[in-house]
Amino acid sequence: MKALVVNYSVGNIFSISSALKRVGFDVSVDDVNDLVGRDYDLIVFPGVGSFSTVARYVNSNTEILNELRGRGTYFLGICIGMHIMFEYGLEGGFNRGLGWFRGYVDLIRANVKLPHIGWDVVYVDYVDEVNEVIANQYVYFIHSYVAYTVDESYNTYSYYGIKFPALITKGNVVATQFHPEKSGKVGIKFLENLKRWLRR
């Protein structure tokens, strides 16, 4: 299975690439240029950079990304890569996202230390094929911003001053607030499971 880790030229994309390789993906690292015609099973928006920097990148490729999504290519967004899938974000000013999920991204509005760095437990309302391996497990978070969803459609969440979505699955799009590539054995299991789910 072929995965593309999108390189927006900021931060560490080594960890996610090496984690995907470890679970058996054939990994390329590139920008989205020239995506059409190449058959990726999974396109990954890594969890590096800020909303404004990633938005600049994504917004200049909206058409192709929407087309691929429409054709059924799978997407995985991690942290900021999840945030960018919402309608807009307020990190570094107002910026539009892809609008694949309804809602927006803003600071964690609670009296807590920021950034939120460390391991927290993920809870699920009901188990599904994607969230089963992380239910009631510790995963690694590192962020100050979270998604405020409009339709509350997520069933997998964690708490840090507020309840926030830890994982959203919608059609062929999977997004995580936590970093599977930094979440130890649980994170690796999550990626293995995701790979199985893509194959079904």
Binding site: I117, Y140, E181
Partner: protein, 251 residues
């Protein structure tokens, strides 16, 4: 509640792990890649690499070690030591660092903190503060603890927080390598002043020391080196102990 983190620190010199007392008298403790993956296996929540060679050649060696380690690790890796420019920091990320720690360069050029956190996100910028008691206050030292900046720790931690540091790695030079316990007073002073997470470092010797710095000191994470390298304390046992005393940890 976010679990309290236990973080083994690997002081790397010319590609080997070393450990000294009060930053001096260094002894070889093994291969960084092997140690890092063993610690992950034992339950470490993150790994910190500090290059203490602090030279251009040393940094190249370090980045190779970081690359090899990042390949086997699936927990976060922080890299520090001798990072002076945005270019250095960018290279550390490219080599596989999840966070970088800056110390001397942050004091010598405060704007580096602001520029780095803007470029890479404040969550990935750790500012290391090496503190030593001088008279009745704590003062910031740089250049591996050799140079007294005269800066009051209280002033400096507030400053780095405002500039965009995402985390503070607070080391007591007086306690480093002594195994006399963390400096709880210093840690409490800093955790009560700032709103960013604080990693306490310097002086871990026994299980109770970790409990005290996490509970009384208010630290979000406890870092140690020697006691882990020498097998005096096993991370898994430590975390079981902390849980038994009511501290939330990831087991």
């Amino acid at each position: 509640m976010t679990a309290k983190r236990i973080i083994p620190c690997l002081d790397v010199k010319w590609g080997r792990v070393v450990k000294g007392v009060k930053f001096l008298d260094l002894k070889d403790k093994g291969d960084p890649v092997e140690l890092a993956s063993r610690y992950e296996e034992e339950g470490a929540d993150e790994i910190v690499f500090l290059d203490i060679t602090a030279s251009v050649e040393g940094r190249k060696t370090l980045f190779n070690v970081v690359r090899d380690t990042a390949n086997v690790l699936s927990i976060p890796l922080t890299v520090g030591g001798g990072l002076r420019t945005l270019e250095d920091i960018s290279q550390a990320f490219s080599a596989g660092a999840d966070k970088v720690s800056i110390n001397t360069a942050a004091v010598e050029d405060k704007s580096l903190i602001a520029r780095a956190s803007k470029e890479f996100g404040s969550q990935s910028i750790v500012v290391a503060v090496d503190a030593k008691r001088v008279g009745d206050k704590y003062v910031v030292f740089i250049r591996s603890g050799m140079y007294n900046t005269g800066l009051d720790v209280r002033y400096w931690v507030k400053t780095v927080e405002e500039l965009g540091a995402g985390e503070i790695l607070l080391t007591s030079i007086d306690r480093d390598g002594t195994r006399l316990g963390y400096d709880i007073e210093l840690t409490k002073l800093v955790t009560s002043l700032v709103k960013v997470p604080v990693i306490a470092s310097g002086g871990a010797g026994k299980l109770e020391d970790f409990y005290e710095v996490l509970y009384f000191g208010g630290a979000d994470a406890a870092l140690a080196a020697g006691v882990f390298h020498d097998g005096v304390i096993r991370i898994y046992e430590l975390k079981k102990y902390l849980r038994s005393r009511g501290i939330e940890v990831r087991l």
